[in-house]
Amino acid sequence: MAMVEEKKRENMRVMVAVDESDASLYALGWALDHFGAPPEKLGSLVILHVQQPFHQYILPAAGGPVAVYAPTSVTETMKKAQEQNTANVISRALSVCKEREMTAETLVMDGEPKDMICQAVQLKGVDLVVVGSRGLGKIKRAFLGSVSDYVAHHAKCPVLIVKPPKEEEHRE
């Protein structure tokens, strides 16, 4: 028969990818509610946030043919803003975990979210990766965002895509 390892839930490593969207926090909460109780049953939890690179140059608004590198002060400000943003995301995620008496490892990576999530899966050797179905993309008619779609196809482990509850979809 198929060679499934004898790992039980106690040893399962789960990674949840979060961004600024409510959907990803909902996904984290949903996954913990359905699989994380009682807390000692879940092997380990990793919360991943991928910081998207911002371009360090500014294109002049009117007619200039050449891109100009942004002065360091602007870059510094943007970097700080990003760090603040990441800190917010991580702290919101950790409080979702705390509500359920779960502890989690946190991981912050830089790059394209869809690629980094797949890389993190292999790096951390997780058994399951959890993503929200639609995060920052505001295309309402798409049921599945581009990151979750990519991860569903390319991650080398099982993928759980958490859809938001129906009421939220209508409210948006």
């Binding site: 028969m1 198929a2 699989f35 058994d127 399951l128 569903a152 099982p158 129906k166």
Partner: protein, 165 residues
């Protein structure tokens, strides 16, 4: 704070493939170890015989011979379905999972699985994945892809790891 919540309903779509059995075993091993917390509905979509025989093409193209094959194809498909369900039953009881409903529905899994989700008010749909590349997926269609897009509940796609070279 841990409220007494009703058992989570999980619909699992399986076909006659190693990927499906792997996915079922994976789910049984990783999630269903606590009895009473899950209700499992195992759904096998049995392809309809006319689909298999290719009669969906222009009528009469294959001639009378194809129509004669129909009952045999039907019987064969039924045999496969029975085999799939009994394998599923075996895997479930090996994991001591007893709160299971088994269903065989004739038709396209891409429609049947979301319908089953609606019917059982499932919290989650689980499917295996054949791991087709982009080209095969475009030609043959991907059930797991379709379900990820169209099911109204959370979807888990379980992949059988590829052998390492």
């Amino acid at each position: 704070m841990a409220a007494e919540k009703s058992a989570m309903v999980v619909v699992m779509g399986i076909d006659d493939s190693e990927h499906s059995y792997y996915a079922l075993q994976w789910v049984l091993g990783h999630f269903f170890s606590v009895p009473g917390t899950f209700k499992l509905v195992v759904v096998h979509a049995q392809p309809s015989p006319s689909y298999s025989v290719g009669l969906s093409g222009p009528v009469g193209f294959f001639g009378a011979g194809a129509a004669d094959a129909l009952p045999y194809v039907e019987a064969d498909l039924k045999k496969i379905s029975t085999r799939v369900i009994s394998k599923a039953k075996e895997l479930c009881s090996a994991s001591k999972m007893n709160d299971v409903v088994y269903e065989v529905v004739e038709g396209d899994p891409r429609n049947i699985l979301p319908e089953a989700v609606e019917k059982y008010h499932a919290d989650m749909l689980v499917v295996g994945s054949h791991g087709y590349g982009a080209i095969k997926r475009a030609v043959l269609g991907s059930v797991s892809d379709h379900c990820a897009h169209h099911a109204h509940c959370s979807v888990m796609i379980v992949k059988k790891p590829k052998p390492k070279h």
